[in-house]
């Protein structure tokens, strides 16, 4: 494990990505304490104050400090994306591994159905679900998780098919272990590596998707400093204060870039052909 982290940090993508994620983690954990100002403090004299010493990233339509809002907003954005990815990955990994373990016609039927579900664009599926469950961050997380699960199931299954024919799985079958034991104890731990890479890259999509839902008014609700919501609120004041819009936009993009970089780095670090 430490070996993997070392190899990850030796790849340039991994090093940059991990640094960015570390900064994000600090913002998520300590955001409210390190923020230079109160993110909710309204200051009408400071409306649309440009970038400067007073407000490092300017102030918004209510005179609230954009930098402080970004810092505090990290925890309404990034952990949500992580939770959604985790949930979707777990569900997808269990379904995919089970399908590979069952094999034959059942596997075929499950995979055909998953292919069919994947014909619904992820964002549309998430929109339909949030429309049903109601607006809010929690429901947006569930919706994204459901939208991710079929794709993760597909990835996991393709890995699990190879694992299924390994001796230790055959040994477990020969011992007469139950299906649940074989899926959870023998197969799942051994499909995790490629699944983790895929999941890391998906966190980037989850960040984007969650921000999109909030942007459309279906995820986080005002006055939350969620980044997608900040972009939505800043749009009508873009003439007076473009920085209010640009700052959260870049925060979303940087977060997505960070997870993409780490995913890419992990792929290099885990790829045996790139062994140095």
């Amino acid at each position: 494990m430490t070996d993997l982290v070392g190899r990850l940090l030796r790849t340039p993508q991994g090093a940059i990505g991990c640094t960015l994620i570390l900064l994000l983690a600090v913002a998520c954990v300590a955001g409210p304490w390190i923020a230079p100002k109160d993110p909710e403090a309204i200051d009408f004299l400071g409306r649309f104050r440009p970038i400067g010493a007073e407000n490092w990233l300017g102030a918004d339509q209510l005179g609230r400090d954009v930098f402080s809002r970004l810092l505090v907003g990290a925890r309404s954005t990034v952990p949500m994306a992580l939770a959604a990815t985790l949930l979707g990955t777990v569900v997808g990994a269990v379904v995919g591994t089970t399908s590979a373990h069952l094999g034959g016609r059942l596997d075929e039927a499950i995979m055909r159905t998953i292919d069919a579900v994947m014909a619904v664009p992820g964002l549309l599926l998430a929109l339909l679900l949030v429309g049903t469950l109601g607006n809010g961050s929690g429901n947006a997380v569930i919706a994204i998780a459901v939208a991710f699960a079929p794709g993760m199931a597909r990835v996991t299954r393709s890995v699990a098919l190879a694992v299924r024919n390994q001796e230790y799985v055959k040994a477990a079958v020969a011992r007469g272990e139950g299906g649940a034991w074989i899926v959870f104890r023998e197969m799942l731990p051994n499909v995790m590596a490629p699944v983790v890479i895929e999941a890391t890259i998906r966190v980037a999509f989850a960040v984007m998707l969650f921000a999109t839902l909030s942007f459309l008014g279906l995820g986080a609700q005002p006055p939350s400093p969620e980044w997608g919501l900040m972009v939505a609120e800043a749009r009508q004041y873009v003439h007076q204060a473009p920085w209010v819009l640009i700052a959260p936009s870049l925060a979303i993009a940087l977060t997505a870039i960070a997870f993409n970089l780490v995913g890419d780095g992990l792929r290099d670090a885990l790829n045996p052909r790139h062994e140095r």
């Binding site: 619904v120 929109l127 429309g131």
Partner: protein, 315 residues
């Protein structure tokens, strides 16, 4: 492409639509909103509500409601919009047409940009052009549509005032107006596609350039331009067809946001309006049509593949 293969693909499209219809119906039917209340308003009398429920079959068991619905969909009747009182089908298909114009423009724009860029990166492997291209594509992938759309509108519509920020002009109405209104949405939709496909074209071109037949062509003295265009490009582009087809799903999702931001009356915007208004027939029809479009596109891509690559035959 044998008859049997076509039959199999048709069966899988039908199965896809069946699964999606159950999924969409299942999700929308548990919507907390009561369709009768949506239709008549909060102040309707219980008798009137009961009458409407009976008329719409809302008291029937779910499976019966589903069968009624899908039975009508099969003959092309998607029901009546609860918001406008108009038939849903014609409205949705007209909207789909506008969305497809947007999607096809985005794909064309992507091909024009991504193919030369990807090839150039491959030919300059490891040099500045290559690094710059992969950097740009890395950044491009990280921008969700709503961010790209707002930033592009900020630059080209609000600041420079070169292009209109919102709206749609039919191509028959005014060609100039049509193109200028299409420019920003198509550009937005193409950004992620370009970022994705550039990487694909680059790695495919690299693979092809290291193959034996390219070396053979060079050794027998074929001019470099013909090696690249005649021999390498064609084979490097093959996998791109599949990627583009798979990206259509992503594109259709992105189009929902793009149409919402640029106020384009396409299927994505119809869906957003329907979801906000809890207009069940419109939501069901829109989602079903979108999924069917995706399934069809992928089949068409597979067919195009066999035409482009004679080595592949589906039996």
């Amino acid at each position: 492409m044998s008859f049997g293969w076509l039959l199999g693909r048709s069966a899988s499209i039908v199965y896809t639509i069946l699964v999606v219809s159950i999924l969409v119906f299942g999700i929308t039917q548990v919507l907390p909103a009561d369709a009768a209340v949506t239709l008549l308003g909060e102040n309707a009398t219980p008798e009137a509500l009961a009458a409407v429920r009976t008329r719409l079959g809302l008291d029937d068991p779910y499976w019966l409601q589903y069968l009624h619905w899908i039975g009508r969909v099969v003959v092309g009747d998607f029901g009546t919009s609860m918001r406008t009182g108009q038939p849903v089908g014609p409205e949705m298909f007209a909207a789909l047409g506008r969305s497809l114009i947007l999607a096809v423009s985005a794909i064309l724009l992507m091909l024009v940009v991504a193919v030369p860029l990807g090839m150039a990166a491959a030919l300059n492997q490891g040099r500045f052009a290559d690094t710059a291209t992969s950097l740009v594509s890395f950044v491009g992938i990280a921008f969700p549509e709503f961010v790209t759309a707002t930033l592009l509108a900020l630059v080209f519509a609000d600041t420079l005032q070169w292009l209109p920020a919102t709206g749609w002009v039919a191509p028959g109405e005014s060609a100039g107006g049509f193109l200028s209104h299409l420019a920003l949405p198509a550009l937005t939709a193409s950004v992620v596609l370009v970022a994705h496909v550039v990487r694909m074209v680059r790695s495919e071109t690299l693979d092809v350039l290291h193959s034996d037949y390219i070396r053979a062509a060079r050794l027998k003295g074929v001019p470099e331009g013909r090696v690249l265009v005649g021999h390498a490009l064609r084979n490097a582009l093959l996998p791109v067809v599949t990627i583009v087809a798979l990206d259509v799903g992503y594109l259709l999702g992105g189009i929902i946001v793009i149409e919402e931001i640029f106020a384009i009356p396409g299927i994505g915007r119809q869906l957003m309006v329907a979801i906000t208004a809890r207009d069940l027939p419109s939501i069901q029809a829109g989602a079903l049509i979108m999924a069917a479009t995706y399934a069809l596109t992928n089949t068409l891509a597979d067919m195009a593949y066999t035409v482009l690559d004679k080595r592949i035959r589906y039996d």
